[in-house]
């Protein structure tokens, strides 16, 4: 609320201009890359856009709410498995538990993925959020690993090998199998998600969540029962990760326990920290940077993790506020 952060201020305008430019670039990206002969970039961009949703959902609880969840892959992976399992049943024609037929329409698989992940987050969050500090980190990790091992042992759904989704889902009967169409579908959903986040973090709910990170004690003595707000945030974050996972399974045409593994949780965490904890677009920046670094370094050497690791340590040590913080400093000021 400083003067420099007024809507009309040059800093805000510069940031807005940057945002519009990025949006425009995202819209023309598939056409531009095709014209330039780098068609495969569209596919890569799709992966980033989808991953950004998951990172952003983690950022809601980690960055805004101060809940260091180390088990976010649970929701990401389960969202993926909802799509995979529904698809498997659609192919075999067998109803799930004799109740519900399979389907490969996103109009069903996405809402169902959100619902399942929301309920799962409600259950796990209700228990985990009774703890705090290191205990919370460990319990979220433990729950996620339990779910990981559950799916590893589920031979009916591929166990260790995972499930193939031969054909991408349709969307209300519309064909989105084509890479460009799927890119735009993912981009549209990501924009909806980020729009929702933008409103959320400055709403009454969002202010409570930020307050909880800064001092739960303060929140309690102004009369706020913090538990229910943390739980609500946890559920919203779980659903965001589920959305991302459901899209990722469609993108990769494959889902396996890897999506549930703690390494996946760690990667999402790194993206959030890299991009800027508790900033709206930080996680998206983190997704771009981490996924790009991974693929560039992997092309040079198979020991790319040896380079990436120290790089991440440096970022965490020296760039407080992540890359988004750096951009803020370059464009003039922090306005978030």
């Amino acid at each position: 609320m400083d003067e420099t952060c007024d809507i009309a201020s040059p800093v805000k305008r510069r940031r807005a201009a940057l945002l519009v430019a990025v949006l425009a670039a995202l819209l023309i990206l598939p056409f531009a890359t095709q014209a330039l002969g780098y068609g495969s970039l569209t596919s890569f961009a799709t992966r980033i856009v989808i991953t950004a949703i998951a990172a952003s959902s983690l950022n809601l609880i980690l960055g805004y709410g101060g809940m260091i969840s180390f088990g976010h892959a649970a929701f990401y992976g389960v969202g993926g498995y909802v799509v995979g399992i529904l698809y498997a049943h659609a192919r075999s024609g067998e109803a799930i538990w004799g109740l519900m037929p399979g389907t490969s329409d996103l109009a069903v698989t996405l809402p169902l993925g959100l619902l399942v992940c929301g309920l799962l987050a409600l259950l796990l969050g209700a228990i985990s959020l009774r703890t705090s500090g290191v205990q919370f980190i460990m319990i979220t990790l433990a729950f996620a690993q339990m779910i990981y091992f559950l799916f590893v042992s589920l031979k009916a759904y591929g166990g260790d090998d995972g499930l193939s989704v031969r054909r991408r889902n349709e969307f209300f009967g519309l064909d989105v199998r084509d890479d460009t169409r799927f890119y735009f579908l993912s981009l549209g959903l990501a924009l909806l998600w980020f729009g929702f986040m933008a409103r959320l973090v400055n709403s009454r709910f969002g202010l409570v969540l930020r307050g909880i990170r800064q001092s739960e004690r303060r929140m309690a003595v102004i009369g706020i029962s913090t538990y229910r707000y943390k739980l609500a945030a946890y559920v919203i974050a779980g659903m965001g990760a589920g959305l991302s996972g459901a899209l990722m399974t469609n993108y990769a045409r494959f889902v396996s326990p890897d999506m549930l593994h703690w390494v996946q949780s760690g990667e999402l965490m790194i993206m959030v920290i890299l991009g800027g904890v508790g900033t709206l677009l930080g996680p998206a920046i983190g997704a771009v940077v981490l996924l790009s670094l991974e693929s560039v370094l992997a092309a040079y050497t198979e020991h790319w993790q040896v380079i990436l690791g120290p790089f991440l340590v440096l970022v965490i040590l020296f760039w407080r506020g992540g890359i988004n913080g750096l951009i803020s400093r370059l464009t003039g000021a922090r306005c978030e």
Binding site: R199, L207, Q214, I222, G223, I224
Partner: protein, 250 residues
């Protein structure tokens, strides 16, 4: 005695071997400013923490308007009109002074499950928050982040936030600690203006302020109330003089 707002009976709390609260009984009457004095480590802060529900007593009862509130959570007690300030300030450091107060107003208005409207621009929250900051003498600092405010302003803000919850009984934990002479006087004036409208339990080492403000004073030593009375009675009490006001101790 129907005018007792807060009644504490036989309250006890120990940390290992230390009896921080030792069979403590205390009445705070409706409308009074009741000062609680006592040497360092007497158990004043521990008492306040139990009254607001941040700490659970080992035994004893706390009644507000005759109703036992021991089992209520802190937010539930706040909803019933209890509020506290912190001796070591506990503020949202990344927010502005205004945002700190506005959040307390928001909490007072009910649940915060509203996900879309921008709460940073809600007149419903900002206008009353600004009015409270004005009364606390912080109007000109409203849009400054807490981290950039002075210690004295932190103390004023603690009070402003507590007032935003519209308390019936305000528990003040050393609101003048660390303040300069002028700031102390300002705080005394602010509390004087609140007197009568809000019942207060004031923990304070600044004797000048205590004698200027208090209707009654209780003296706490080793977790026990050793005397309660008016300023004159307390100043005349020999037990108190030796235990606390005693010569040598400022």
């Amino acid at each position: 005695m129907s005018d007792v707002l807060l009644r504490v009976e036989n309250l006890a709390k120990h940390f290992g071997g230390i009896r921080a609260t030792d069979d403590l009984s205390l009445d705070v009457r409706s409308g009074e400013l009741h000062a609680l004095i006592g040497p360092n480590g007497a158990g004043k802060t521990t008492l306040i923490s139990q009254l607001i529900g941040e700490m659970q007593p080992d035994s004893g009862t706390i009644r507000m308007n005759g109703i036992v509130i021991n089992t209520l959570s802190t937010p539930q007690r706040v909803a019933r009109g209890l509020a506290r300030t912190f001796q070591i300030t506990e503020l949202l450091r990344e927010e502005t002074a205004l945002a700190n107060v506005a959040l307390a107003i928001q909490a007072r208005q009910g649940h915060s499950f509203r996900f879309f409207a921008d709460a940073r621009r809600e007149r419903d929250l900002l206008d009353p928050a600004m009015a409270i900051l004005r009364n606390a003498g912080l109007e000109h600092r409203a849009r400054i982040h807490v981290a950039a405010l002075s210690h004295g302003e932190h103390k004023q803000l603690e009070l402003a936030i507590a007032l935003a919850t519209e308390p019936k009984l305000l528990l003040l934990d050393e609101p003048m600690a660390g303040l300069g002479a002028v700031e102390s006087q300002d705080m005394t004036m602010i509390l004087k203006a609140l007197k009568g409208r809000i019942t207060m339990l004031l923990v304070e080492h600044d004797m000048q302020a205590v004698f200027a403000l208090a209707d009654r004073i209780s003296v706490l030593v080793y977790g026990q109330v050793i005397a309660t009375g008016t300023s004159a009675e307390i100043q005349a009490n020999t037990d108190v003089r030796t235990a606390y006001l005693g010569e040598g101790n400022s």
